[in-house]
């Protein structure tokens, strides 16, 4: 009896030590400021979350090497939500209650960002979401900001180009991930508004190894004058390869998720001629020298590729912009007070980043318009401006 009680006591104590020991009691060192981040580092959105974390880590370290921010060391606390929004909702409690972070950057997926937001609002802490759906910033939510272009803008950019080339009837292939499903709805709305008919509307799973069945339907439907693939990562690559395999010569559009060198490297020759909207970063070398986005984009690309020996991705670029959006706001606010930083982010004006030039307002928590996208095409294994 005694033994069991003692054993249970030891177990309880061990559990507590493990829990508490893992995350030290919130004794805030005065000279540290904490960024909290919940990202999707495993699961379906891992291809997005991975460059996001790498970028954050890179800039936090770099800032600390040069004395931190306003003289305070930056500490990054990050957790993986496994691409499960409900899990993000639990992890954010840890960041807020236990790690006592001063700022949130993260929410790889729209689901995670939306699942987090009620707690963010309650805690009154500024939060820059990295996810893509329009709902994150429309209507503007007091404590949440958005850094990546709306999915809607992807549709607007692509379909404007289609119409300019006289294409009004297309086949759309979107994936069934959270991104694919919400983007698909937005594309349908944009298509209707711009007078583009989606003659064949098919879906696929991002883990599928073959989508020729869906594409064959588009190939054999004479109403399909172009194919628009709304996906990212491996899904987009498989679709691209299958389009080439079927010998489809129709114009082929991708969403901005494919604007990474990995896409070109893995899709190979099949990627030639593909048109897609991309942040300025991807064609930085082509920009005129006086373009404010040029130098920072080249710097980011050089730093990231040198450090991680891996391909540049737009999702990392968004994260870079989020970090500097915050850093800029902190400098203007003159400190880390949450409400003041929030106000400062909201009053950001003309801040150039790798993905656009941000001007926020109370009603606009994205601060970008469709002109932030460049329409690019793949030529000789590289992205070049399409026009």
């Amino acid at each position: 009896m005694m033994f069991v009680k003692k054993a249970m006591g030891t177990v309880c104590a061990a559990v507590m030590t493990v829990l508490v020991g893992q995350s030290p009691m919130p004794v805030q060192a005065a000279d540290t400021v904490k960024i909290g981040s919940v990202l999707s580092l495993t699961g379906g959105a891992a291809t997005l979350g991975d460059p996001e974390l790498k970028t954050l880590q890179m800039y936090v370290e770099e800032a600390n090497k040069t004395g931190g921010l306003l003289g305070r060391r930056i500490e990054l606390v990050h957790y993986d939500d496994g691409s499960e929004p409900a899990k993000a909702n639990g992890l954010i409690k840890r960041l807020l209650e236990d790690d006592k972070v001063d700022m949130l950057i993260g929410g790889t997926t729209t689901g995670a960002s939306m699942a987090i937001y009620p707690l963010v609002e309650k805690a009154k802490i500024p939060f820059i979401s990295l996810a893509g759906a329009t709902v994150i910033a429309e209507p503007a939510k007091t404590w949440m900001f958005k850094i990546s272009h709306h999915d809607r803008m992807v549709g607007e950019k692509v379909m404007a180009d289609m119409k300019a080339r006289g294409i009004t009837s297309i086949g759309m292939l979107s994936d069934t991930s959270g991104y694919g499903q919400s983007a698909r709805k937005e594309m349908q709305a944009v298509a209707q508004r711009l007078g583009v008919t989606i003659a064949v509307d098919e879906t696929f799973n991002t883990k599928d190894t073959d989508v020729t069945a869906q594409l064959a339907k588009m190939k054999n439907n004479p109403a399909v004058k172009a194919i628009f693939v709304v996906s990212f990562g491996q899904g987009a690559i498989v679709a691209t390869k299958n389009i080439a395999q079927l010998g489809i010569t129709l114009p082929h559009y991708q969403a901005h998720g494919s604007a990474s060198k990995e896409y070109i490297r893995l899709a190979g020759a099949a990627a030639e001629g593909v048109r897609l909207p991309a942040p300025a970063l991807m064609v930085a070398a082509e920009l005129p020298d006086n373009d404010p986005q040029k130098q920072i984009s080249l710097d980011y690309a050089a730093a990231y590729e040198a450090r991680y020996k891996t391909d540049l991705s737009p999702f990392g670029a968004y994260t870079r912009d989020a970090f500097f959006l915050w850093a800029d706001a902190v400098k203007r606010a003159g400190g880390f007070d949450k409400a003041k930083v929030r106000d400062a982010i909201e009053s950001t004006k003309g801040l150039a980043g790798t993905c656009g030039i941000v001007t926020m307002s109370a009603g606009d928590h994205l601060g970008l318009d469709v002109s932030a996208f460049k329409l690019v095409t793949v030529k000789n294994g590289a992205f070049v401006l399409a026009d």
């Binding site: 580092l41 495993t42 699961g43 891992a46 291809t47 991975d50 069934t176 098919e202 879906t203 696929f204 799973n205 883990k207 190894t209 073959d210 989508v211 020729t212 069945a213 869906q214 064959a216 339907k217 054999n220 990562g233 491996q234 690559i237 498989v238 390869k241 080439a244 395999q245 079927l246 010998g247 990995e262 490297r265 893995l266 190979g268 020759a269 099949a270 891996t310 391909d311």
Partner: protein
């Protein structure tokens, strides 16, 4: 036959060949040990990842492929030696958990070593599609089909003609009796793990040029392999071939004619129906119950 239908069939058969290779691995291990190896999908992934990594590192493609398959074979051996053999007498649920645990270890190490990015291999015989009555097929798909057929034929010879192959079969029918007539049951177990790991990895290597590979590719392929093996009848070689091809065709036809959103549900609905009507699978032998 419309060219559209032909395209669906070609795509279904290619998919099916991949599922077949996964299903064969399941069946072989099930036969030798009565274990459902939930790490089977990871062999496919390891084969593809290792070969891609080596190719990227400058190793010639054929050598990289062989090495990729060998890496998977060694992992298969390690799993049998250190995770399955010590748990001989555990219950079904416990062994399932062990294999799931092993799959997490393999996946985790791959992620740590090779990162989360996607990898691809060059196509073995170029990327120019072959036209066929209005439909097309990639040379790589022909590779998948041909090698799959070779493996099936090879396994047939192995189990039907060689002493050790017959030993494996004998063990699957009755372990004790096999032991009594002089079959080295331990060796049979090791062999079946190494062999199914290698077969899975061959599938991974063959399909990577078409489908690309990343550390988490194995999960879905493993599940589909399990479905295919169950459809055909667990432990039945012809069943695995039939189940794999059937599953691939059904998926392609569902995506083509019914709903691409629900094509992933179809295999599971199907396996449900088959199990209810014919619990031993479509080609499986009627199970006998031991009391």
């Amino acid at each position: 036959m419309s060219s559209e239908l032909l395209q669906f069939i070609l795509s279904g058969v290619t998919l099916g060949a991949t599922y077949t290779l996964a299903a064969l691995g399941f069946s072989m291990i099930y036969n030798a040990s009565g274990v459902i190896n939930f790490a089977q999908g990871e062999f496919i992934m390891v084969g593809g990842m290792a070969a891609s990594f080596l190719t990227a590192a400058g190793v010639p493609l054929p050598l990289a492929c062989v090495l990729g398959v060998m890496v998977a074979g060694v992992i298969g051996w390690l799993i049998e030696r250190f995770a399955i053999a010590p748990a001989r007498d555990a219950e079904v649920a416990s062994i399932i958990i062990i294999t799931i645990g092993v799959s997490m270890i393999v996946r985790g190490f791959t992620e740590i070593l090779l990162g989360k990015g996607a990898y691809a291999l060059p196509h073995f015989s170029g990327e120019a599609p072959i036209a066929l009555a209005g439909a097309t097929i990639l040379p790589q798909s022909l590779w998948v089909l041909a090698v799959c057929a070779l493996i099936v034929a090879g396994l047939g010879l192995f189990f039907g003609r060689t002493r050790i192959g017959k030993g494996v079969l004998a063990t699957s029918y009755n372990r004790l009796a096999a032991q009594l007539v002089g079959v080295d049951v331990r060796k049979v177990l090791t062999l079946s793990f190494v062999l199914s790991a290698a077969i899975g990895a061959v599938g991974g290597v063959l399909v990577t040029p078409i489908a690309t590979v990343s550390f988490d590719t194995g999960v879905m392929l493993g599940l589909k392999g399990f479905v295919a093996a169950t459809l055909g009848g667990l432990g039945s070689g012809p069943g695995a071939v039939f189940g794999g091809l059937f599953l691939g065709l059904i998926e392609a036809l569902t995506a083509g004619y019914i709903s691409s959103s629900y094509k992933d549900a179809v295999p599971f609905v199907l396996v449900f129906i088959v199990l209810v009507l014919r619990p031993q699978g479509l080609l499986g032998a009627k199970p006998t119950d031991r009391i």
